[in-house]
Symmetry: C2
Subunit: 227 residues, 2 copies
Amino acid sequence: MSQASRLKQSIEDAVIAGEFQPGDRLDEASLAERFGVSRTPIREALLQLGAEGFIDVRPRRGAIVSVPSPTRLFEMFETMAEIESACGRLAARRLTPDNDAAMEAAHRACETAARAGDSEQYYADNRNFHEAIYRASRNSFLADQAFALHKRLSAYRRIQLRARNRLLQSLQEHAGILEAIRAGDEQLAATRLHDHVLVQGERFSDMVLGLSPGSQSPAESRRETAK
Amino acid sequence: MSQASRLKQSIEDAVIAGEFQPGDRLDEASLAERFGVSRTPIREALLQLGAEGFIDVRPRRGAIVSVPSPTRLFEMFETMAEIESACGRLAARRLTPDNDAAMEAAHRACETAARAGDSEQYYADNRNFHEAIYRASRNSFLADQAFALHKRLSAYRRIQLRARNRLLQSLQEHAGILEAIRAGDEQLAATRLHDHVLVQGERFSDMVLGLSPGSQSPAESRRETAK
DNA sequence: ATTTCTAATCTTGCATACAATCCATATATG
DNA sequence: CATATATGGATTGTATGCAAGATTAGAAAT
């Protein structure tokens, strides 16, 4: 495999692990030295990560780890909630024994971690549980989208899990989600997943956007993509 | 702006316009000559388009315009349906006069094109209508995701529109969608948008996947991302 | 002390050169 | 005749060099 691919993965991992924090500069020369390669493959890796939205590459001004505004962050979580809902809906419709078993196994692992109060372990097992749901949608394209967004949000998700110490609550929500999927109740599965991801974020999101049903409010729909 | 950015846009446009068809090779030397630049910015543009899923860059084997399998294509349309549903749901909840007016204008343009039987014009206006809905979700991140997927599917969507000559039917569905959004009926808006995008694709998708509710069927959930 | 202008330095963007791998054609062999 | 193998050509992957824009530090002026 090419160096650029490996580098892309390495840089992505470093960002996810929190080694590079949001706002940190990712200058090509330093990274090139660190990985013992020239700037070229570094550049290619950074541009790809930028295209995936993982980092922010500003023309002539270098790359930084994205610093989403609070509004943007809520938008990302809201989108995640919608995508996970969709996965849950399809999973409820199409569940196979294989996928059921995979979700069950992941859920049991979460249970163990939660009982032990191991936040870090729960974080990892939680990820597996959600990924099992993505796969259970039997739509690999949708699952890939879900994976990608999940990764982009991982830094903030971890904070959320820790801050609220909501391990046990999270676990119970997982149980409810599993139940709905197994019952084939698409609507319920979607709703529970949506709420699980967004928690109370939905109302908060509406609040941040300065909205109440039927009200007017300009707030231009800004777009960030550099064109 | 950098050359690579312009090139990326140019190549993307050429793919959307159908100048490069699915399966066509995009070799760096030819593109470099065509645009009068060196291979470097071409390479960067191709890698970015690859990261966005627009084209397929295979290590050491060059880039080609993606050729999704029928299964993959249905998955993409199904995902589009879910994302558009989400946009419609949020639009119904948060509709502002500005967004309402934008949708109305786009709808009128579609009406004119449909009455004139101008398939090409309808294609363009249809795009504007859907983009107006994305924006009406008041979630710019979700809207960006929707834009991106819409672009990736544009080639196939055009075929679909032409082949079925369903201009007038499409227009009526648009009217129904608008009505539901204006009524603030989230559920109805979501359902109508879903059906509009997928038409009868949902059942077909289930069929292709070899599924019926409760049945088992292995069919490993393959992943395409190069790691 | 604060602000503004200028210049030196640093970083990115692109071109070119070279190395490594892949592909196709042709040749050899069973 | 079919299959396997080798060799030459073509294409991608990486390194290096140079040019252009951006950032920072310092000096001058208010």
